[in-house]
Symmetry: C2
Subunit: 198 residues, 2 copies
């Protein structure tokens, strides 16, 4: 069986954006399969009794943008604090689950992450999400409609509950088998684990 | 003027311990002067309205030890969760300030960090601190006595207030000039800043 890297992500998390730009290359380097796992960070926080760190403590906010910019420079990618932060990602995450059913998740998530964290788009707005899906070559209107289907809602909830059950408390969270890694800044440890796994 | 790396630390912070084992080599590589800045993390948390992350959210605790072990393996150093965690570091931090007045801060802090994070010592216990200071070649009993002197208490308070004023919200916090870096896991960015600074 091929080794797998699972990435639990939420569009509202800028560190998930950073990680999303790197994980495909990481998997390529180690011959690993990448499993994108959309979850609802707000639901995860609620389940573990946490809140977004940068929102809970005012002093963390100015540093957040500095730190994100350093990572973006390090990766050579664009980044911009979103004026709509913190964003309601519920519809977007449900659309990611819906997109996955027809093989559209990856182009959709890449487009949404870029819009959220390099273009200042309001990804809480359904019309914006439809446009972004269309731009990614996915059927935006159909995805938005399917986002409210029961099994799609349940699918997102199940992913989130699975993340909680496996020990996650934030995003992005990676798994290599049972080994959990929290944060874009642990990708080098993720690589070591992929290298070590059979 | 030589470039300087300032490190604000607290003995109760395991990530400060990790960083403490690396910063001298970092400074050597970049011809930088290292300024060890003892502060009181509890006071910092109080000032910025925060709490220790691993204590605020139960789900973070099991991951904490896993993550610390990964870093210790990465650095090739010993680590062990302290049964006394979270520890009251007030006397130890005051002794670090007192030790600094006679040039004993560095051997003292290295001994205390190792005792706290590799040997399970109770660094909230004054007698233990005296022993550790003696083992580090510093006059333990004298340091403990000076720890309660007004100017030593004020010195620790001033360091903590300075950290707050400059934007810190946790430990370890590094400064290269005005640039702030939070966390052992940002040492590679600290190195880049030292490389870029005149």
């Amino acid at each position: 069986m091929a080794k797998t890297l699972e990435l639990f992500y939420d569009f509202g998390s800028p560190y998930s954006y950073l990680a999303s730009t790197q994980v495909e290359a990481v998997c390529q380097r180690h011959g690993a399969v990448l499993a994108w796992r959309p979850m609802l960070l707000g639901g995860l926080f609620k389940a573990v009794g946490s809140v977004a760190p940068a929102l809970a403590v005012a002093a963390k906010m100015p540093y957040l943008m500095v730190d994100l910019q350093r990572w973006a420079d390090h990766y050579g990618i664009p980044i911009a604090m979103n004026p709509n932060f913190p964003m309601n990602s519920l519809t977007a995450m449900r659309m990611a689950v819906a997109a996955d059913e027809r093989g559209h998740q990856v182009p959709f998530l890449k487009r949404v992450f870029a819009a959220a964290w390099a273009e200042g788009a309001d990804i809480g707005d359904p019309a914006t999400l439809v446009r972004l899906a269309d731009e990614a070559g996915a059927p935006g209107a159909a995805l938005l409609e399917r986002a409210s289907a029961g099994h799609v809602k349940e699918g997102l909830k199940a992913n989130t509950e699975e993340a909680v059950r496996r020990g996650a408390f934030g995003a992005p969270t990676f798994f290599v088998g049972d080994e959990m890694f929290f944060g874009n800044d642990r990708l080098s440890f993720v690589e070591k684990a992929l290298e070590a796994s059979a």
